[in-house]
């Protein structure tokens, strides 16, 4: 659904922009950069290490024979290489990043500084617990904030990302059900859900039963109730949902789910819309993961690491995975084994204790904002999204009328008969200096464009973006599809051939045969 393949007709950039060929292939500040493997100076090294004094090798005769094949580069070459690579990336630090359901907000640098304090970064997960009381205190403080914000009484902290949190939540639900001798086989998942939801339910051994949306972009309650039954283990619902809408019948939905003995799981990817204004527990939710890398601003880092703690109701808490931190008679205790209060636990989902580095950043973020600042986060996130909605709904087609939450969903009806697709429109935004919105998701509208500005954009930034989208929409109507179908043209690379990449995968560098022969 995305990408380009050679079948499409493409005009070279020089036809579009005039001659731009250079000797190097560089274009001003856009610098071509080879792979590190192509910059090898054999024997060279970017780290000065001493040679050890003579010693008796005790590797049992299993020493590596022959070279590994790693290139040798000095420090300046490495620093330049990775700096040049960085300059080929779009980032929040460089501009608005309106990816819907991804919550690309500012990442405060204080949080980076604190995560690197030696007392937090340079401690080992298995050094004696008596030498890390501050680590337990920090984790417990984070848990206290998350419990207060969700209204749920327990937090499982070890999941490493949102999808891992989902796995934790659904496995915990299954453990609780089986502990009461209740074997169920289905999990209900709305069609608008993230792909991780059905994948998670399947990984927990459940059949996935999709629930359609109604005409207002919310769960079709009648369809949901018709699918509920004693074999349903859980409903997995995202709220606000991926159309950017609050599920306004959530109390009725929760009651219906609970009436059959099932659990109500909430995907917390969109918690940013309601943090500090609504506690998930007050919506009837039993279990919800929180993406610390979304709502609580730990950096996305080009795709991770994340952290996905799971808030749990009191009837799920005894089944939460290890490890636990509990308040014991002598202070905080780390429970790592399935015994005592933890005898019913699910097991372990990850090595060691969770994403401590992310905990530090998230706690610093929450302490900085406070109860008042977090509530303001939700309000400004919702205000910014609605401002975009109001200013753009006459230019591009709004999928569902009325107020939205922290993100707003448009679709491709405004491009009808223009010869321009959602993909083309998104790629044209790139030439204007913007990362596109989320495209083709959720699946319930045609050619979806899901925009989430977040609370850390100024009004001036939104106004500029609005102007660009309006301008592109006007150009799309005026009938010059080639501007769109060729876009982007000003980037380090133009559209890439994804079809060939998948058909004949090249997933690693290999020396070309002549080079290899010369080396040998």
């Amino acid at each position: 659904m995305s990408g380009w393949s050679p079948a499409a007709s493409v005009r070279p950039v020089k036809d579009l922009l005039g001659p731009s060929e250079t000797i190097t292939g560089n274009r001003g500040l856009q610098l071509e950069e080879k792979l590190i493997f192509e910059q090898d100076s054999p024997g060279h090294c970017g780290v000065d290490l001493p040679e050890p004094a003579p010693f008796r090798c005790r590797l049992g005769g299993l020493e590596r024979q022959g070279a590994i094949g790693l290139p040798g580069l000095s420090e300046p070459q490495i620093v330049r290489h990775f700096t040049r690579l960085s300059q080929k990336n779009y980032a929040i630090d460089t501009g608005l990043y309106p990816l819907g359901s991804c919550t690309m907000k500012h990442n405060p640098r204080l949080n980076e500084k604190l995560a690197r304090l030696p007392g937090l970064a340079d401690i080992h997960p298995l050094q004696p617990v008596s030498t890390v009381p501050g680590a337990l205190e920090l984790i417990d403080t984070l848990a206290y904030w998350l419990k207060t914000l969700t209204g749920l009484p327990a937090i499982a902290l070890s999941p490493a990302a949102g999808a891992h949190g989902e796995l934790c939540g659904i496995m915990t639900i299954r453990s609780a059900l089986e502990a009461r001798g209740d074997r169920r086989s289905r999990v209900l998942v709305p069609e608008s859900a993230h792909g991780t939801n059905p994948a998670t339910a399947a990984a927990c051994g459940y059949a996935v039963d999709p629930i359609p949306a109604n005409g207002s972009g919310r769960v079709d309650r009648a369809a949901l109730e018709a699918k509920l039954g004693l074999d349903v283990a859980a409903l997995m619902l995202t709220n606000p949902n991926t159309c950017g809408l609050f599920e306004n019948e959530i109390h009725e939905i929760a009651a219906a789910v609970h009436a059959t003995g099932a659990f109500f799981y909430c995907d917390g990817a969109n918690f940013n819309a309601i943090v500090g204004r609504v506690r998930p527990a007050d919506l009837g939710i039993d279990c919800m993961h929180l993406n610390l890398h979304k709502t609580f601003s730990t950096p996305h880092g080009g795709g991770g690491p994340g952290s996905g703690p799971v808030a749990l109701s009191s009837n799920l808490a005894p089944y939460a995975p290890l490890p636990w931190i509990i308040h014991g008679p002598g202070g905080l205790e780390l429970i790592e084994q399935r015994e005592g209060p933890a005898e019913h636990v699910l097991g372990r989902l990850k090595g060691f204790h969770g994403q401590m580095g992310m905990f530090v950043r998230a706690l610093a973020y929450m302490m900085s904002h406070g109860a008042d600042g977090l509530r303001q986060v939700a309000e400004d996130a919702v205000l910014n999204a609605n401002y975009l909605r109001t200013r753009l709904e006459d230019d591009i087609s709004l999928s569902f009328p009325g107020a939205c939450m922290h993100e707003v969903l448009f679709d491709d009806r405004f491009l009808k008969d223009s010869g321009i697709t959602t993909l083309d429109f998104a790629k044209a935004l790139i030439d204007e200096g913007y990362h596109p919105m989320t495209m083709y998701f959720p699946l319930i509208v045609h050619g979806a464009m899901l925009i989430e500005p977040t609370e850390t954009e100024s009004k001036a930034s939104l106004d500029q973006f609005i102007g660009v989208v309006k301008g592109l929409a006007a150009k799309a109507q005026s009938g010059d599809p080639s501007r769109f179908s060729n876009a982007p043209v000003l980037t380090p690379r133009r559209r890439l051939d994804e079809t060939t990449a998948a058909r004949k995968p090249v997933l690693r560098w290999r020396p070309d045969p002549a080079q290899r022969e010369a080396a040998e």
Binding site: G25, T196, F246, G276, L346, L383
Partner: protein
């Protein structure tokens, strides 16, 4: 609040543009009973000075590894991280970018992930590697699941020498999908998995060096597995060992699941780390996680994209090879930069330094009465059998300012025969003075 750019005036203008009186009108879909009118009972917004003070106070209550003689390993290792690594990964273009779904403006991330995949394949001796998973333990569980998809069988055999956290994560992942996990006795020195392999076995999971630090040759086991139609999964928890040891790919491994923390990543009390996952080309479409592939752009120039994504949850939903989405991108970058700085010469020298430190330490400790070395061969970590419970010894030495290692009883509290076993690691960070202090401390407490 310093992170929020809207002014009160902006908010007023924006509400007017939207056509509502107050922000509350935008939350009208929230049922009345669930709306919080006031603030939650949490502290109010706090300035940078005070946040730094409060978190620094918590940090100061911990004993940092660098402040004491330090011998703790068991799956996470303290190594030197060159200053350039942490500088480069904090460039905003890396730190604050998303998953590279728009390749035209993500070539930086895509290219380093392609370099990462190549480095992991080279180190492990495998043909292909993915763009990372959460950590070594989850990579191991994903390997077990993948072996089942490849073989169509549902029984995994885990070595007793596999890190107990890895075993536990495999058991959790397998628990609800009708999968049988057989784990061998965890006693050190045991090699009991071969007799457990049969025609129903999907894979055998072993570790090298194993949990007790023992270096092993799994070539024979690989043949047994392959004869039975099973896959051999080799786990590596100390990736630096592959700077010195024969890689799993040369021993016949079908999948390698590893922890990459040792290169570029701090201890961080257990996370975030970086899971490495490598396999054979023929299994690539059964792999979990993201893959970056080389291709060309509209003008024929080389570039990179996420590829084979029809395996993944955002396309295939409940039929995906894994539910994983976010991985460990930035930790993979740290790994790639550190390994880039080391190169062939630096990595092999660093591995020699580690082995030399461990040999030096073993030779000193072998002279201490009341303990003996369990291992025949080891890399930078080994097991000692003490005449007294290791947990007590570690606690006593910690109170004297020496972090002596990991008592195996922390993982197997009920197993009396393991209570005397202590895992001790030495790296390039370990000094002769540190070793003196451990040796002296053990002499005192064991006498």
């Amino acid at each position: 609040m310093r992170y929020l750019p809207l002014t009160e005036r902006d908010r007023g203008e924006m509400l007017a543009a939207i056509g509502v009186d107050s922000i509350d009108a935008l939350f009208a879909d929230v049922p009345q009973a669930a709306r919080l009118d006031g603030l939650l009972d949490l502290p109010r917004a706090t300035g940078e000075i005070e946040v730094e003070r409060q978190i620094s106070r918590m940090a100061a209550r911990n004993v940092a590894a660098g402040s004491a003689p330090f011998f703790v390993g068991a799956g996470a290792y303290r190594h030197h991280i060159p200053a350039a690594v942490d500088h480069l990964i904090q460039r905003g273009e890396f730190l604050t970018s998303y998953t590279p779904y728009q390749p035209e403006i993500s070539q930086g991330t895509l290219q380093y992930l392609f370099e990462f995949q190549t480095q992991v394949a080279l180190l492990t001796g495998m043909e292909v590697a993915n763009a990372s998973l959460y950590d070594g333990a989850t990579a191991c569980a994903e390997a077990v699941m993948m072996a089942s998809r490849v073989t169509g069988r549902r029984k995994a055999v885990l070595s007793g020498g596999l890190h107990p956290h890895y075993r536990e994560v495999c058991e959790t992942y397998a628990r609800f999908v009708g999968f049988e996990i057989t784990a061998d006795d965890p006693a050190p020195g045991r090699q009991g998995v071969a007799p457990l392999v049969d025609r129903d076995t999907s894979c055998v999971v072993v570790q090298n060096p194993d949990f007790y630090g023992e270096v092993r040759d799994y070539s024979g086991l690989a043949r047994i597995c392959h004869d039975a139609g099973a896959l051999l999964v080799v786990v590596v928890t100390e990736i630096l060992s592959l700077g010195a040891l024969r890689p799993p790919g040369e021993m016949g491994a079908d999948i390698v699941a590893a922890e990459g923390q040792s290169l570029g990543n701090a201890l961080n009390f257990g996370g975030p780390y970086v899971g490495l996952f490598a396999t054979r080309d023929k299994f690539v479409r059964q792999m979990p996680g993201r893959l970056v592939g080389q291709t060309v752009d509209a003008e024929g120039r080389r570039g990179w994209v996420l590829t084979l994504s029809t395996r993944e949850q955002h396309i295939r939903r409940e039929r995906a090879t894994s539910n994983v989405c976010t991985n460990s991108g930035l930790c993979a970058l740290a790994f790639t930069i550190h390994l880039g700085l080391l190169g062939e010469a630096g990595l092999t020298r660093l591995a020699r330094l580690n082995h030399a430190a461990a040999v030096d330490l073993a030779e000193r400790l072998e002279r201490v009465p009341g303990l003996h070395l369990v291992n025949r061969a080891f890399f930078n970590e080994f097991a000692l059998r003490l005449s007294r419970p290791a947990a007590e010894i570690v606690e006593t030495l910690a109170s004297r300012g020496v972090l002596a290692g990991v008592p195996v009883s922390r993982f197997y509290p009920g197993q009396e025969k393991l209570s005397g076993i202590l895992l001790v690691a030495a790296t390039e960070m370990t000094t002769a003075d540190d070793m003196d202090r451990l040796e002296q401390g053990l002499r005192e407490v064991l006498s």
